[in-house]
């Protein structure tokens, strides 16, 4: 195994073009596990840690540009207001030591359905900035996941950053594991309210071959909120609407039985998390509405 250590982004792209089988490594919290367990023996390992740009983030007008290697700890500490769903998801990643090293780029590169960042990115709406010597492009998150541990990257491309829409409303993230910390998701759920566009977006983890959105559930809820004038009147969402939304989220799952849980449990749990996170985000939305009305 050859170890490549590009000093700059350009060098990294050139190296990746020359050695498309090279596996990029940053925090190493995923790649090193695979190597240590002998699950993977890449021809080339490409260390991206000399490229400082990857651990930086910029908060823009509408979006946050998050470097691929920004550790989860930094997201939790610095981007809680802009990326609340991702910050909550970051909290659930492994242990403090791992959160100090791992970043979203690794989750995206591995593209495991169990990656904790995915449901939050799907719900918030994100674009993955990838680049090769041929040029740069942005892949919408909805088109990024292509199969079990497969993503939309070309062999010569590297993930540079993620562009995530700044939260314009409440966001939530829930994850089920069979222990109260440091656990891989049995299943996970992300929900974001987007009051500006009067839409909701969802993300489901570990309950299908890839991370997925519950699109039918979103469409149902968007219509129900619209028809009932909920965005304007700020009423409590009726239990029947919440239940229908939860059922549609369960129906969006295509899970398997494995050592971490049964398919039937995953469908059930996603429904419970969908209902609860809808309640939490909607209560929060109503709270901010009341607060702004009070101020007016």
């Amino acid at each position: 195994m050859d170890f490549l250590r590009p000093a700059s982004w350009e060098e990294a792209l050139a190296a990746k073009a020359e050695h498309p089988t090279a596996v990029p490594i940053a925090g190493g919290t995923d790649v090193m596990v695979e190597i240590n367990f002998d699950h993977r023996r890449p021809e080339y390992l490409m260390d991206l840690n000399r490229i400082g740009d990857l651990t930086e983030w910029e908060v823009g007008e509408d979006t946050v540009r998050l470097g691929a290697s920004v550790p989860y700890t930094k997201i939790m500490e610095n981007l809680r207001a802009e990326l609340p769903g991702l910050a909550l998801a970051s909290h659930t990643v492994a242990s403090p030591q791992i959160r100090n090293r791992g970043g979203v780029g690794g989750n995206l590169g591995t593209a495991s359905p169990a990656g904790d960042a995915h449901p939050a990115l799907l719900a918030a709406g994100a674009e993955v900035e990838v680049e090769s010597v041929r040029g740069s492009r942005r892949i919408p998150i909805d088109e990024f996941y292509r199969g079990v541990k497969r993503n939309a990257l070309a062999p010569d491309e590297l993930i540079r950053a993620v562009h995530v829409k700044k939260a314009d409303g409440p966001q939530q993230f829930s994850k089920v594991g069979t222990r109260n910390a440091m656990v891989i998701a049995v299943c996970a759920f992300g929900l974001a309210l987007h009051p500006e566009t009067r839409t909701v977006r969802t993300g489901i983890g570990s309950a299908a071959p890839t991370p997925v959105r519950a699109k039918a559930a979103e469409e149902f809820l968007n219509a129900a909120l619209d028809e009932g004038g909920f965005w304007d009147n700020g009423k409590i969402i009726t239990p029947s609407v919440a239940k229908r939304f939860a059922d549609l989220c369960s129906a969006a799952c295509n899970p398997i039985d494995d050592v971490r849980g049964t398919a039937s449990y995953r469908r059930h749990a996603v429904g419970v998390m969908a209902r609860r996170t809808l309640t939490w985000t909607w209560e929060s939305y109503r709270g901010t509405r009341r607060a702004s009305e009070g101020a007016a």
Partner: protein, 794 residues
Amino acid sequence: MPANGAPTKITQGTRTKGGIGESTLRPDGTLKVTGEFAYSSDMWHEDMLWGQILRSTVAHAEIVSIDTSEALALPGVYAVMTYDDLPTDVRNYGLEIQDTPVLAHGKVRHHGEPVAIVAADHPETARRAAAKIKVDYRELPVVTDEASATAPDAILVHENRDDHHAAHVPHPNIVHRQPIVRGDVEAARGRADVIVEGEYTFGMQDQAFLGPESGLAVPEEDGGVHLYIATQWLHSDLRQIAPVLGLPEEKVRMTLAGVGGAFGGREDLSMQIHACLLALRTGKPVKIVYNRFESFFGHVHRHPAKLYYEHGATKDGKLTHMKCRIVLDGGAYASASPAVVGNASSLSVGPYVVDNVDIEAIALYTNNPPCGAMRGFGAVQACFAYEAQMDKLAKRLGLDPVEFRQLNAMEQGTVMPTGQPVDSPAPVAELLRRVKAMPMPPERQWESSEGADVRQLPGGLSNTTHGEGVVRGVGYAVGIKNVGFSEGFDDYSTARVRMEVVGGEPVATVHTAMAEVGQGGVTVHAQIARTELGVTRVTIHPADTQVGSAGSTSASRQTYVTGGAVKNACELVREKVLEIGRRKFGSYHPAWATAELLLEGGKVVTDGGEVLADLADVLGEEAVEVEEEWRHRPTEPFDLRTGQGNGHVQYSFAAHRAVVEVDTELGLVKVIELACAQDVGKALNPLSVVGQIQGGTTQGLGVAVMEEIVVDPKTAKVKNPSFTDYLIPTILDTPTIPVDVLELADEHAPYGLRGIGEAPTLSSTPAVLAAIRDATGLELDRTPVRPEHLTGTA
């Protein structure tokens, strides 16, 4: 010192600091928490090679061929060995039955069985070489449970058995069977107003010690080998290793290396023989370290079990009878299965008075992973079942579950189902009273001014509930565990104690072969020496085989048995020291001849407190040394038909109250508090006692809500050999554990102490299960309980 040897000064004696009963700190504690402690995996030797084991990828197969040529051709490889390369005719080992091949011979019987070993100059080279060994398997059907193991046409895991259990078992795939019958169950059933039946399942738990199996074998000039090893019993290892190597035991020297936990998982051999074989073959030191994945295959686990129970009781709440059948899955090799059967059967009634019993316990041979010793050893599985039965009975009778247990609780004088009277305190009802009397943790602790504190809720930081669906439940359990090796085993220990003056100060050296696996024996031995010999400075000699056997660090026995041996040796040293004193100074003070003399604060004092001499003056240039074996009272085997016999030497009791909060919609559990009350006889080191109780309690919690090795029933392959998917409790899963320590002396034991390490592991699990049942109203007849069991989505 004056030439005539007269004492130089007479002062008041002071009690020796750091003796028994004090919470002296562990000598290895700071090193361990700061990462400075040298564990067995940290050892290094100049010019050493790395050993690697090739393990079977299938559970049951004939080995058609093994081709090692490509592995041998790899540069850096020094040796590749298979069964055919073993040096003598002794090619099996085992704790009780020598049924385990050092390397597979013609057949593999479980997933991960060692097939070949490699030594190379780099661990990665060794791994790659092992991967190049070609093994051609012809797969065989697997037996995985009682039905498949005992079917008339069942394939035999071991053909042509000739072990000492073979003659009395009903089927060759049963390792050992122990019935216990007493009283008249049929007549008693007629008197019962209620009868409660249950079928329970206990999952396969792993010891999950953090220091993986590792050791270093160094060839010696005399043709022997020196093995530095993390184990639980050096001399038991030695007895099994030497014959395979074709060496007399004196040519196999063993020194204990730093042990990173054991919990029973180091009673059986792991890489010991493999490292020695490679060292002797290559003439170079060989180190072997398992990684976590391999560790899951490298040691035995706790027996999974099926338990069938029937209890009867009168309407005023008295137990009439108990009938049970306990089926333990021993996996492919015997390991400690026979002794686990003995424990499961003899302790299957629990700490209750039941005069009419019909008990049967068996261990199976299957193609599942081998199972053997783990903290609680057969008593754990039984406790899970009989405590569930107690709750069911109490419910049927409309009685409080604690009161119902107290009504039937055993006490000193109660006769066990084996016919053995309990001849020391058995404060079962009192322990239950104490845990029940503890204050309850406040409700809804997650509520704060800033919203829900998810760390206090089921799901924790995974943020699954802010209080929705959360229901509290409370449950109680109590258990009984035997202390020490039972059933007639010669359970002795040896201690060598030396006393001499170093730098003008009397110093005691304690040398035993006791494996310090974290239990704190090294702390306790120093405390005993201080108490008995009145010295401040005690050196604990490294444990090795240059001294006699200390027996195993298991069965809650080391403080009792090796502690007893150290105490005994110290007493003999004290006698010799006093003899020297009488010889030197007897003429100066009549008390030397007439008074009861003690060693305290570095001096010889009378029982009235008068100081007769400094120990330094008594000893002068002389050193006093004693090595002596020490035994607890003998036990007897259980009768093979009736189970009668004085099989156990001492019992240990603990009770728990569990308070849990369950997210009933998601099936997630947060254990809020696990209160424990335990009788320890005498707390030699109160801090260590509480530590043991909290640790045992947590291990019991683990198997209640998360810990399970999952084996595929079709292939007998292990599905989760990693800490990613074999979950053990984190600090967020570990509740507050208030501990109430009772000290009722057992007059038969040194200082009145009681072995304590295992009892808290027993009652913790059923208490948590009872609390979850209380919260959910579900029956829950298996452990660990998983979210799908609580949500109807299994």
